[in-house]
């Protein structure tokens, strides 16, 4: 039957330009014009992107005679670094906790439910501070990560620096990473639970009836389908994670936002700095959204 495999007809795109579009566009342009007018005439602001911003992206190292990354790019790298680790860790925690949410074992259900409710009802900043000042100083502090890393062989140090950033702020980085991952994972937990529960009863029964163990039923039949179904909201949650990662600047991890604060303080160039920072966040978030859009299409093309 060929009509079963045929893709659904594409939704017609309206490219017609109506009166509403004209009004909306006019309003947006008007707003922009007004802001620029205010900044230029009332604040008498001299825009100066050219001399300041590029220097903070890359600077000329006269000793080594080459271009090196400067604060903004370094901040960007830290943000990307913590985002990637964060997504990885949050996915693992979210997956495990999500499976616990539908477990037959009461204790596991209570544990995961409690975790989700705890996180969902505390503001992210407060959670970060509680985690950083109480938990991580008690748990990560005695481990003396920074000292141990500094005593490691040079090769190991390079690897650590590449993976996690500057050794000096290693404890802060880990505290931030774990707090961020725990925070976002609570939302991923709920996505995973919803995904699992959306799988038809017949799939569970067929999987059980061929003698698969509960773990194998989950691993090979339920989770692959559940994850495919929750890809769009999962992508959303990852983008939220990138944006929420700005909070870690509050515990001195030198991410993009932290660098933004530094530069705007020292140069007094608030507008230029923050617009640049905003653009940089936009670029990483939006690239991720595009990448996920592609992935989703590929998954859809796979079957059905």
């Amino acid at each position: 039957m060929s009509d079963r495999s045929a893709p659904p007809p594409p939704r017609p795109r309206t490219l017609k330009f109506g009166i509403v579009d004209v009004i909306v566009i006019a309003a947006v342009l008007g707003l922009f014009a007004f802001i620029i007018y205010r900044v230029n005439t009332v604040l008498v602001y001299n825009w100066d992107f050219g001399r300041i911003i590029p220097n903070y992206l890359f600077r000329w190292d006269s000793e080594r005679e080459r271009w090196v990354t400067n604060l903004l790019i370094q901040g960007l790298i830290t943000t990307v670094r913590i985002s990637i680790w964060g997504m990885l860790l949050a996915s693992i925690i979210g997956l495990i906790m999500g499976v616990f949410r539908v477990s037959n074992v009461l204790f596991l259900r209570v544990l995961s439910r409690g975790y989700v409710e705890l996180i969902r009802n505390i503001p992210p900043v407060v959670f970060l501070f509680v985690f950083f000042f109480f938990i991580s100083s008690q748990i990560l502090g005695p481990l003396e990560l920074a000292d141990q890393a500094r005593n490691a062989p040079a090769g190991v140090q390079t690897v650590i620096r590449f993976l996690f950033g500057e050794l000096r702020v290693l404890p802060n980085f880990f505290a931030a990473l774990i707090a961020l991952a725990l925070f976002e994972a609570a939302y991923i937990t709920e996505l995973v639970r919803a995904g699992i529960q959306s799988i038809e009863k017949g799939q569970w029964e067929a999987a059980r009836s061929v003698g698969l163990s509960p773990f194998h039923v989950m691993r090979y039949v339920i989770l692959p389908q559940a994850i495919q179904r929750i890809t769009p909201p999962l992508a959303n949650q990852f983008i939220t994670l990138i944006k929420d990662s700005a909070l870690i600047s509050l515990i001195s991890v030198q991410d993009l936002t932290f660098m933004g604060v530094e530069i705007s303080n020292s140069t007094q160039r608030l507008f230029e700095t923050w617009i640049t920072v905003a653009v940089m966040y936009f670029v990483i978030s939006y690239s991720l959204a595009l990448a996920f859009g592609r992935l989703e299409k590929r998954l859809k093309a796979g079957y059905r």
């Binding site: 039957m1 079963r4 495999s5 038809e200 017949g202 799939q203 029964e205 067929a206 999987a207 059980r208 009836s209 061929v210 003698g211 698969l212 163990s213 194998h216 090979y220 039949v221 692959p224 389908q225 495919q228 796979g302 079957y303 059905r304």
Partner: protein, 251 residues
């Protein structure tokens, strides 16, 4: 059948009761199925046919009575349950193929994970049964790309890959377009000819007449009548059976 009573008991239900909340779905069910025997179960919708055969591989838990499958008693002990499920294949009305896996992977999953066979062996078994249901050329497709009849034959092959001693069918042709029913029934007839022990819930009375060793009629959670097809169709004892047969044989 006088000679079949010598054969070992494969399925044994004694005094089985099952409730859904306050509603009693099965009422003191007694049933024996011997090796190689084909039992066809029929009865009006909601009479407990599905519930009964789903108790046979513990997709449903019975509250009272005894169920022994190929010498293993079904209890809360998961070890027994898993052991039984490896011996019992089940085919569902809605096929329930795994949509994210190709046909071949659907068939290989249980041999790989449950029987822990090496990959090439699992593939061999899978291809063997795909050939038996006569769709080896569909191996690389996804279930969604197949017709209903093909999907149901894949589902039968998937169960056979576990080399079950018993096959359960729950209205395997009810979700199919009429022109596809025959290909699935033919597959089931072949299976019966090979001596598979089968319990089939179906309203396909033509199929029942050809392959059934015994007919079971259920109503309101009870087995009302059990007889050979000859007796069942020509001389039903109970009024309920007569009414049911008159309704089903008309259309």
């Amino acid at each position: 059948m006088p000679d079949s009573s010598e054969k070992p008991l494969m399925i044994e239900l004694r005094g089985v009761n099952k409730w859904f909340g306050d509603f009693q779905a099965l009422r003191s069910i007694d049933l024996e199925v011997r090796l190689g025997e084909r039992v066809v179960v029929c009865g009006p919708s909601g009479s407990g046919k599905s519930t009964m055969i789903r108790c046979m591989n513990r997709l449903e838990r019975h509250e009272e009575g005894t169920i022994i499958i190929d010498g293993i008693e079904l209890t809360d002990d998961m070890k027994n349950v898993t052991a039984v499920r490896r011996e019992v294949g089940m085919v569902f009305q809605q096929f329930n193929l795994f949509p994210h896996l190709t046909v071949l992977d659907n068939l290989m999953l249980a041999p790989l994970r449950s029987r822990k066979l090496p990959k090439n062996e699992a593939r061999e078994i899978a291809m063997h049964y795909l050939e038996r249901v006569r769709i080896p050329e569909q191996a690389e497709k996804y279930p969604g790309q197949l017709s209903g009849g093909q999907q149901q034959r894949v589902a039968i092959a998937r169960s056979l890959c576990m080399k079950p001693r018993i096959m359960l069918f729950d209205e395997p042709t009810s979700a199919l377009d009429p022109e596809m029913i025959k290909e699935v029934l033919d597959t089931m007839v072949e299976l019966a000819e090979d001596g598979m022990t089968m319990v089939v819930v179906t309203h396909e009375m033509g199929f029942a007449k050809t392959v059934a060793d015994s007919m079971v009629f259920m109503d309101e959670g009870e087995i009302v009548e059990a007889a050979t097809p000859a007796d069942f169709f020509s001389a039903p004892k109970s009024e309920r059976t007569k009414t049911f047969l008159s309704q089903i044989l008309i259309h």
